[in-house]
């Protein structure tokens, strides 16, 4: 891991290794237990505001500002399997490390990404925010329910499901380490899933 620390995650993908995947799968297994639910209102509000800010930035297509909410070593994960599955053995709808997230933004900012020309308009509702403690005080898991309406080519569509956010407290505040997007139709055919969900 010391070697990984010397690499810029925007340029190389040193942090996505076997240990990273194992930790990811472990973190997203059996985490939504009642006894771990966080009561602290201030902490819950901090998490809620972070999720609301994320939705607001995405709706305004401020993609670079959105990515700044993420830790340097992060994952945006849209499983194709209900409950997540194991990304080492299964294709996901999307599984982006930081570099691929920057690829994604680069492409969306390119004038020739036809699936986003004209650019979609979106309105995101994020609700039912529930915060769960982990064994690490600097880390929280958050479940929320989302409903994203997209206007693309004059046609309204919806994406809905629940988010699993893994948050970590870094020196400058809470950052998103993992965003898992669980679409209710993750194992069904999706029409032009080219926006950030």
């Amino acid at each position: 891991m010391t070697e990984a620390k010397t690499h810029d995650p925007s340029l190389t993908s040193w942090y996505v290794g076997e240990d990273f995947y194992q930790d990811l799968v472990d973190a997203f297994t059996d985490w939504q237990t009642d006894e771990r639910e966080v009561d602290d209102l201030a902490l819950r509000d901090t998490c809620r505001r972070l999720l609301e800010k994320e939705a607001r930035l995405l709706d305004r297509c401020r993609l670079e500002d959105w990515l700044a909410l993420y830790a340097p070593e992060c994952v945006y994960w849209v499983p194709a399997t209900p409950h997540g599955g194991d990304p080492r053995r299964e294709i996901a709808v999307s599984f982006d490390d930081r570099r691929r997230l920057e690829d994604r933004i680069f492409r969306l900012r390119n004038d020739f990404a036809w699936s986003q020309r004209p650019q979609s308009r979106t309105a995101r509702l994020v609700s039912n925010v529930t915060v769960f403690a982990t064994g690490d005080r600097a880390e929280l898991m958050v479940r929320s329910t989302f409903l994203t309406t997209e206007l693309q080519a004059g046609d309204k569509r919806t994406y809905t499901g629940w988010y699993g956010h893994r948050l970590r407290r870094l020196e400058d505040g809470w950052r998103i380490v993992v965003k898992q997007v669980n679409l209710i139709d993750c194992d069904r055919n999706l029409r032009n899933p080219s926006i950030v969900l």
Binding site: S13, E90, A92, S94, F95, F106, N110, R188
Partner: protein, 462 residues
């Protein structure tokens, strides 16, 4: 149609209400092929009912009693490996009143029971029982009460096909020379096989043929995928090799990429000659993917010079192998297209994983697959979405009925572009539309004939 046939299928449609010779010309086809619901309905019979249609992959049903649901045209099908190991394609339609009997996309079951009135069937298709049989005056051992099934089901190296046409050639003959690139694609993997590992599932509002028309098209790449090409190469600097589909840049007709038309609508675009023939060359042109530096370093440390060949297995194989009407093998994906209506199509990009039963990968199969999952997610996320948008916009453009023609004459009447060998296999440059013209000749042949579609209810084993 004889009187007997009319009695057997009282609702059988007249052969056609369309003049396909007027709709399909050498250089162009009529817009109604993509927009007319009546033509679509005929296709479900004359194309999907007449040829071998891909249904499923054997790795989806590895054990006896495993099943996966599929479609043959619009017909709902259960592909099952029955209790005795025979692969069958059962109609997912209760003999009694027509309800689907299997509503799970996959699973394992020795029998299927209709949720509506409880008729149940063994996974051979044989009726096993009906509730309160004393209320019936018939003999339920008559096979007419068994589930309908596709009469001819066959596999080619793991790919399961079915046909309703008793007059169709054998599957091997139907595939013909497209088997060679298919064999080569499989044989680059240990044991000559792959296993499905979930999918990128997409859909578009457009006719299914828009996807087939695109499948061997080397002309669209640098335009439709311009954003992907830019993205894959945004970090390339100095003497680094260009990444991904950069081999299409400049003048793709003068380079080593070529396409072949094999007959029966099958075609093949081969980009392998753009890559040096040495271990590791394919891996070198992979665009950036999650985990690639970390896994590569670990594999090189553990395997030394053997790492290159292993890394190539995580890399996208630069071929497009298209099996008419619904199967495409490209990169490491098995892409299946599924018409839903004249203007709606599902396209499912099955990921494939490497299987290593004999230790050919020095124990690194899990590392290869962890990389290979990520390489496969790239094109559906950043390339296919742009194609699908273009397909939808073609469908929108074709609403202009009186602007009648869709042109596919690139290469036509230009001397020296195309060669035809003794077996009739046509070879041309990668941007030539000869593959479209030849496919539509075959399509016209299908649409002007009437297959004698048959189902069976016999449950005899192979």
């Amino acid at each position: 149609m004889t009187q007997d046939e009319a009695a057997r299928r009282p609702n059988r449609l007249p052969t056609t209400q369309y003049d396909y010779d007027a709709l399909i010309h050498e250089d162009r086809v009529h817009q109604s092929l993509y927009t007319d619901a009546g033509i679509f309905r005929e296709e479900m019979r004359k194309v999907f009912g007449a040829v071998w249609v891909y249904l499923a992959h054997e790795s989806q049903i590895p054990k006896n009693n495993d099943f996966v649901t599929s479609k043959l045209g619009l017909r709902p099908i259960i592909v099952v490996r029955d209790n005795a190991g025979t692969i069958r394609a059962l109609y997912n339609r209760c003999t009694h009143r027509g309800a689907t009997i299997c509503r799970q996309p996959s699973g394992s079951a020795r029998s299927f029971s209709c949720p509506y009135h409880g008729w149940s069937y063994f996974n051979t298709g044989q009726l096993s029982g009906v509730p309160w049989p004393e209320g019936y005056g018939c003999d339920f051992s008559d096979p007419k009460y068994n589930l309908a099934q596709v009469p001819r089901v066959a596999s080619y190296r793991g790919f399961i096909f079915g046909t309703l046409n008793p007059d169709a050639p054998s599957l091997e003959d139907y595939l013909g020379p497209v088997r060679q690139p298919l064999d080569e694609w499989l044989d680059r993997h240990p044991g000559g096989k792959v296993a499905f590992c979930d999918a990128n599932r997409l859909k578009f509002r457009g006719n299914w043929k828009l996807l087939y028309d695109n499948s061997c098209d080397g002309y669209h790449v640098i335009f439709s995928h311009r954003s992907l090409l830019a993205m894959e190469n945004r970090l390339v600097a100095g003497n680094m090799p260009e990444k991904g589909m950069a081999f299409y840049k400049n003048s793709p007709d003068d380079g080593p990429i070529y396409l072949k038309y094999f007959g029966n609508g099958h075609h093949f675009k081969d980009k392998r000659a753009t890559v040096e023939k040495r271990p590791g060359a394919l891996w070198e042109i992979e665009g950036p993917h999650p985990g690639m530096e970390r896994y590569e370093a670990a594999l090189r440390a553990r395997l030394g010079e053997n790492a290159d060949a292993v890394l190539d297995l995580a890399s996208s194989e630069p071929v497009n192998i298209n099996v008419f009407p619904n199967l495409h093998i490209l990169g490491n994906h098995v892409q299946v297209s599924q018409p839903l209506s004249v203007s709606e199509t599902d396209t499912t990009w099955w990921g494939t994983a490497v299987v290593d039963e004999n230790g050919a990968l020095h124990g690194e199969v899990d590392a290869v697959n962890a990389l290979r999952m990520r390489t496969q997610e790239s094109f559906p996320n950043f390339g296919e979405v742009d194609d699908l948008m273009n397909f939808e916009e073609i469908q929108a453009g074709l609403a202009a009925e009186e602007d009648e023609w869709v042109y596919m004459h690139r290469g036509l009447d230009v001397p020296g572009r195309i060669t035809t060998d003794a077996d009739g296999v046509i070879t041309g440059p990668s941007t030539d539309e000869v593959f479209l013209r030849e496919t539509y000749k075959y399509y016209r042949q299908l649409m002007t004939a009437e297959p004698d579609i048959a189902i069976t209810r016999e449950v005899a084993h192979d």
